[in-house]
């Protein structure tokens, strides 16, 4: 059934923010073909057409709690575990273009 090309995998990798090497893209294309070929049998379950999807095993809805202020994690403790922090904030690489 599916025939996944390296270009398609490269597109998926970009969407997933994974900078993959060419060799990884080739290997993944071949593996995805095999895996998707196997999982595609799910389309044979024609009686599924008329049933509602299950998103969750427990039918809970709208779980709420009282709207009261509670202590959260200490800011400095959290920032200490970050790759980079500055002035009490996470420091991130350039987001906007340099121009």
């Amino acid at each position: 059934m599916p025939e996944i090309t390296r270009e398609e995998v490269a597109h998926l990798a970009r969407l997933s923010r994974l900078a993959l090497e060419d060799a990884e893209l080739d290997a993944l294309a071949a593996q995805l073909d095999v895996i998707l070929g196997a999982v595609a049998q799910i389309s044979q379950v024609t009686e599924a057409a008329d049933v509602p999807p299950t998103t969750h095993a427990v039918p809970l809805e709208n779980v709420t709690r009282p709207d009261v202020v509670r202590p959260s994690l200490d800011r400095d403790t959290v920032l200490a575990a970050a790759p980079a922090a500055e002035d009490g904030r996470f420091r991130v690489p350039r987001i906007l273009d340099a121009e």
Partner: protein, 499 residues
């Protein structure tokens, strides 16, 4: 009592010995730390051992005992925890390079509860990266080895927790089970492993893989020990919005009852035959016959949509994973590479994720992203969720004619390291029998049913949602009869591992 002996006791026996002042919690912790020092070089069940923390926690139990404080049923008992569960002040990696060196700023709810109950955390156990795998070979920190045969896998993803328990490094461990990651390792290491009802045990502080399927549960050497740990960690948690606000099923009482007279046990026709090793099938048939001898009514049930559980799972779980793992963005915690002041956030993020995730995690992220793509969503993810409904209906129909369902827990014995690591589909088939309960949400357990080719194999018991007690009732009865037959616990014949 020599210190080596202290590691051979069950959790229930250990707690009783501490409460009656036969031994101190510090002596028990020390004995297990020594055991870890002597065998974990060979087994590699642990990613991190917190000796100082364990001894301090044990000393607090001893101090409470000396002060006359009433102790809980597991006070002073050592515990190992899968490294996917966050532990304040103790490194947590989920088996991934992307979290190497990360020290969480808070404890998971289950750990808060277990600490409060006086359990002593020894350390964090090895696992397939982000719990994706069935062999623990996908750990970024190297595999765990099966104590029964060091050339074989201990199962996965929770191979470290199962191996630690089987190797007498800890009497109890916590695992997580998304598609079988507690039960399949239990099956191939001769231990007891339970996936509780989804929502029965808090997921707060559990690093998410597939949020609609993930569930933490106990690993132990006996059914009663698993029940004691289950009871200590279960129950409603306001911090987890999927947690069920209902009383914890009476699992300890059920484990002790040991009575299955009149209970209807359904053998699932679709979870046998092709794909299951003959030795597994044979032990399974013997165990079912034994249940019948014990007074259970054995019936055959058919769950026709179980045949599609594996494909449904391998669409739903990677889809949820591709979303959940987006949080590893090189900004808030964990790894960051190539941040040279020139590269953009997107470039740094993409380079970090490529460097920090292993091959199986990348495979599942890409697969999940594909299954969720517009144009494929209805055919893959949407269809899988509908099939999930049909599988749930199969369970409901089966539980009309049977109180519990049984099957082999894994299709075979522990396989040699490397045998399936390059064949994702063969690896995925390890979860044939365990996945249906994750999709349905009901509880399921693996307990030892004997040896095949000299290696342990497990029987799976499945029960309706929030009837976790039925698992323990059946398993308690079967375990007692099997221990009579074997002259004790199967694990007594685990090879001597110490050099």
């Amino acid at each position: 009592m020599s210190s080596a002996d202290l590691t051979r006791f069950t959790a229930a026996e250990t707690a009783a010995a501490i409460a009656s002042r036969e031994v101190s919690a510090v002596e028990v912790a020390q004995a297990h730390l020594e055991r870890i020092s002597s065998v974990d070089g060979a087994v590699h069940a642990f990613l991190h051992v917190d000796a100082d923390g364990a001894l301090a926690a044990a000393a607090r139990v001893d101090a409470a005992r000396a002060a006359g404080t009433a102790l809980g049923p597991l006070a002073g008992v050592p515990l190992a925890m899968k490294d996917v569960i966050v532990t304040q002040g103790i490194p947590t990696t989920a088996g991934s390079r992307i979290l190497e060196g990360w020290v969480p700023p808070y404890d998971a709810t289950i750990l808060t509860r277990l600490k409060g109950a006086g359990l002593v955390l020894l350390g964090k156990t090895n696992m397939d990266e982000f719990a994706m795998g069935s062999s623990t070979e996908h750990s970024a920190y190297g595999p765990t080895f099966n104590p029964w045969d060091l050339g074989r896998i201990p199962g996965g993803s929770g191979g470290g927790s199962a191996a630690a328990v089987a190797a007498y490094e800890a009497p109890l461990a916590v695992g997580t089970d998304t598609g079988g990651s507690i039960r399949q390792p239990a099956s191939v290491t001769g231990t007891v492993g339970v996936k509780p009802t989804y929502g029965g045990v808090s997921r707060f502080g559990l690093i998410a893989f597939s949020s609609s399927l993930d569930q933490a549960g106990p690993c132990a050497r006996t059914v009663l020990d698993a029940a004691l740990l289950h009871e200590a960690m279960a129950g409603h948690d306001p911090a987890d919005s999927t947690s069920i606000d209902a009383p914890v099923p009476p699992v300890v009482a059920a484990a002790r009852s040991g009575d299955v007279a009149g209970l209807r046990v359904g053998v699932v026709r679709e979870l046998s035959g092709e794909g299951y090793e003959p030795g597994v099938q044979q032990r399974f048939e013997e165990a079912v016959a034994l249940l019948s001898d014990l007074g259970a009514k054995v019936v055959e049930v058919s769950c026709p949509h179980f045949a599609y559980a594996l494909p449904a799972y391998y669409l739903i779980a990677p889809s949820e994973a591709s979303s959940n793992l987006a949080r590893f963005d090189s900004v808030r915690y964990g790894l960051r590479v190539d941040d040279d002041g020139v590269r953009s956030l997107e470039e740094v993020m993409s380079a970090t994720r490529a460097a920090g995730f292993g091959a199986e995690v990348k495979r599942r992220i890409i697969l999940g992203t594909y299954a969720l793509s517009s144009g494929y969503y209805d055919a893959y993810y949407g269809q899988a969720q509908k099939v999930r409904t049909l599988i749930t209906r199969d369970f409901a129909a089966a539980f009309e004619i049977a109180d519990v369902l049984v099957s082999p827990a894994s299709p075979g014995v522990a396989f040699p390291l490397g045998a399936k690591v390059d064949d994702p589909l063969a690896m995925y088939r390890q979860d044939l029998a365990t996945i249906p309960s994750n999709l349905y949400g009901g509880p399921a357990m693996s307990l030892p049913m004997g040896l095949s080719e000299g290696l342990p194999v497990g029987l799976q018991v499945m029960a309706p949602t929030m009837r976790d007690d039925l698992l323990y009732q059946v398993a308690g009865a079967l375990e007692a009869a099997l221990h009579d037959r074997w002259g004790g616990n199967l694990l007594a014949s685990v090879p001597e591992l110490a050099a």
